[in-house]
């Protein structure tokens, strides 16, 4: 702090470069694009079949042929991490997207129309918010049975009230502007006002929130799979691999470390992107 404080303000560069939102977004976005490419191209990149059991390679140490080593059943850890990334990203991103698709119109309606529309939507969503996320997910899976689709639905339901609430708040703020009343007076229908004025101006915070929640969704998915409630074996998932590696942590730490690192990197990617977006939308740091 003392260093930056003595830096002369020149050329509009007030904040140190390290913290610029652009840099954060680029790093986060770069990580995510890279991970997404790896996930999409998994069959092309993975050096081995992720489900192929090789008895003579059980708990094999990392080598040139198997850079991340092998697991309890002699399966190649690198290939499994690549495929697991695919499953995990798929579940977390589709969960958040599904949640967004419902949350945005609900939040818009609640924030714009207010009164009984707001009460109906908000109170109903509050019911979901009462439960802790993990408990809700586990309950959901207990009813519907385990699996990655169910896990995605559970995560989507958990995040629905959060995203809807963010959307409602920013809609409330935008709706107070005179150009909204002006647009009504200039003959625009409610739907037109919502689509052309309110939604575009209220969208920023919810995108930030979605990006941050994607990080949590990834962790939640890993947590569920770790407990055996998410993606089911033999399909590799990051959480499931963590569970496998736990028992052999001392003898073969690579079984645990590499999927763990993959989770860390992916979560960092989403977090950086979210933080960068947040600062870009809120350059004065009002929402700090």
């Amino acid at each position: 702090m003392t260093e930056t404080a003595s830096t002369p303000i020149a050329g509009g560069k007030i904040e140190s470069h390290r913290h610029s939102p652009k840099r954060l977004m680029l790093v986060g976005g770069g990580i995510l694009v890279l991970l997404a490419l790896i996930a999409i191209a998994a069959p092309l990149i993975a050096p081995h079949d992720p489900e192929a059991v090789e008895v003579h390679r059980v708990l094999g140490a990392p080598s040139l042929q198997h850079p991340f080593g092998s697991d309890v059943l002699g399966r190649d850890v690198l290939s499994r991490v690549i495929y697991a990334l695919r499953a995990s990203l798929m579940v977390s991103v589709s969960a958040v997207l599904a949640s967004l698709i419902l949350a945005v119109p609900l939040g818009l309606a609640a924030g714009y129309f207010g009164r009984w529309v707001d009460s109906t939507i908000s109170r109903t969503l509050d019911l979901i918010l009462v439960f802790p996320a993990m408990l809700l997910a586990v309950t959901f899976i207990a009813i519907l049975g385990p699996g990655s689709v169910i896990a995605a639905i559970a995560i989507a339901v958990i995040y629905l009230p959060i995203l809807a609430r963010v959307m409602r708040t920013s809609t409330l703020i935008v709706s107070r502007n005179d150009y909204i009343a002006g647009s009504r007076a200039r003959g625009a229908s409610h739907l037109r006002v919502l689509a052309t004025h309110v939604a575009p101006n209220a969208f920023g915070p919810v995108i930030v929130q979605a990006s941050v929640l994607s990080a949590f969704a990834l962790q939640l998915e890993a947590g569920l799979s770790f407990l055996g409630l998410g993606t089911q074996p033999p399909t590799p998932s990051l959480g499931g691999m963590l569970a496998d590696g736990r028992e052999v942590l001392i003898q073969a730490p690579w079984v645990e470390i590499f999927p763990g690192l993959a989770i860390v990197v992916a979560v960092l990617g989403f977090t950086f992107l979210g933080e960068g977006l947040r600062r870009a939308f809120d350059p004065r740091g009002v929402a700090e």
Partner: protein, 259 residues
């Protein structure tokens, strides 16, 4: 002179009845005003006196609890669909805050064109031409039409706001504190513009402000509002020179006058 707008016994309270039963004072308490064609009514009062609420009720944006807004012989509350759109075309607002009255994501030309688009006035090419005419009309360079509001000054934004209000050729303009967010020198320019337009186009207006000094210049009649009620109403000269109500006298005493 014929009557354009008549507001009768308007009442409105924002329903936040507190749990221990104390009701907030109403925003409008039995308000009646009349605006004649081509004339300006200055609506004066301190913040919270209900003058903006009255403006919103007349625009049909807020529903009053009781009473009636009668525009050109037709009750506004009863309008819907096409008749409501036709009414909206004839009554347009100009807002105070030159930041909040324009969508920050829209080029200002689009904001001016909005009413033409919504009311379906003319062909798209006509609308483009009309927007440029309007820019000219309010003393703005038409080349600014493609700019975003953030790239204009406060005075320029307010001119855009006026152009947007004029687009649908209204007969009544509700100007809610149109100059109070501007510098003194810009205030005078905008006031002159408003008065010129009014003379040229014959538009009636309700000029809402807290500044009696401003209203003196622009209005034919003055209504003074205090806590949701109109305490004094009359021709500008009469009110300025012979104020009847204590509150009006206080307001008058607050005008800075060079000696």
């Amino acid at each position: 002179m014929t009557e354009l707008l008549r507001v009768e016994h308007l009442r409105k309270s924002y329903a936040t009845a507190l749990p221990w039963g104390r009701k907030p004072p109403p925003a409008l308490n039995d308000v009646s005003v009349v605006v004649e064609r081509g004339k300006t009514l200055g609506l004066v009062g301190e913040s919270g006196s209900g003058k903006s609420t009255l403006g919103r009720c007349i625009l049909g944006l807020t529903r009053p609890d009781s009473g009636a807004v009668i525009f050109d012989g037709v009750e506004v509350q009863a309008l819907s669909g096409r008749a409501l759109a036709a009414f909206r075309r004839r009554v347009q607002p100009v807002f105070q805050d030159p930041f909040g009255s324009l969508d920050p994501r829209w080029p200002v030309g689009r904001s001016v064109r909005e009413s033409l688009d919504c009311f379906g006035i003319g062909t798209p090419a006509d609308r483009e031409r009309r927007v440029l005419d309007l820019f000219d009309r309010v003393g703005l360079n038409p080349a600014l039409a493609g700019r975003l509001p953030t790239h204009l000054s406060g005075g320029q934004r307010q001119r855009v706001g006026i152009a947007a209000a004029l687009a649908s050729e209204p007969e009544l303009i509700i100007a809610d504190e149109p100059v109070s967010a501007l510098d003194m020198s810009v205030q005078a320019q905008i006031l002159n513009l408003l008065m010129d337009l009014q003379q040229d186009l014959g538009v009636a207006s309700i000029f809402i402000t807290h500044d009696l000094g401003v209203v003196e210049h622009v209005s034919d009649n003055i209504a003074v509002m205090y806590r949701g009620s109109i305490v004094e109403m009359g021709e500008t000269e009469a009110v300025m020179n012979h104020p009847q109500h204590d509150y009006t006298r206080t307001l008058l005493a607050a005008i800075p006058r060079p000696r």
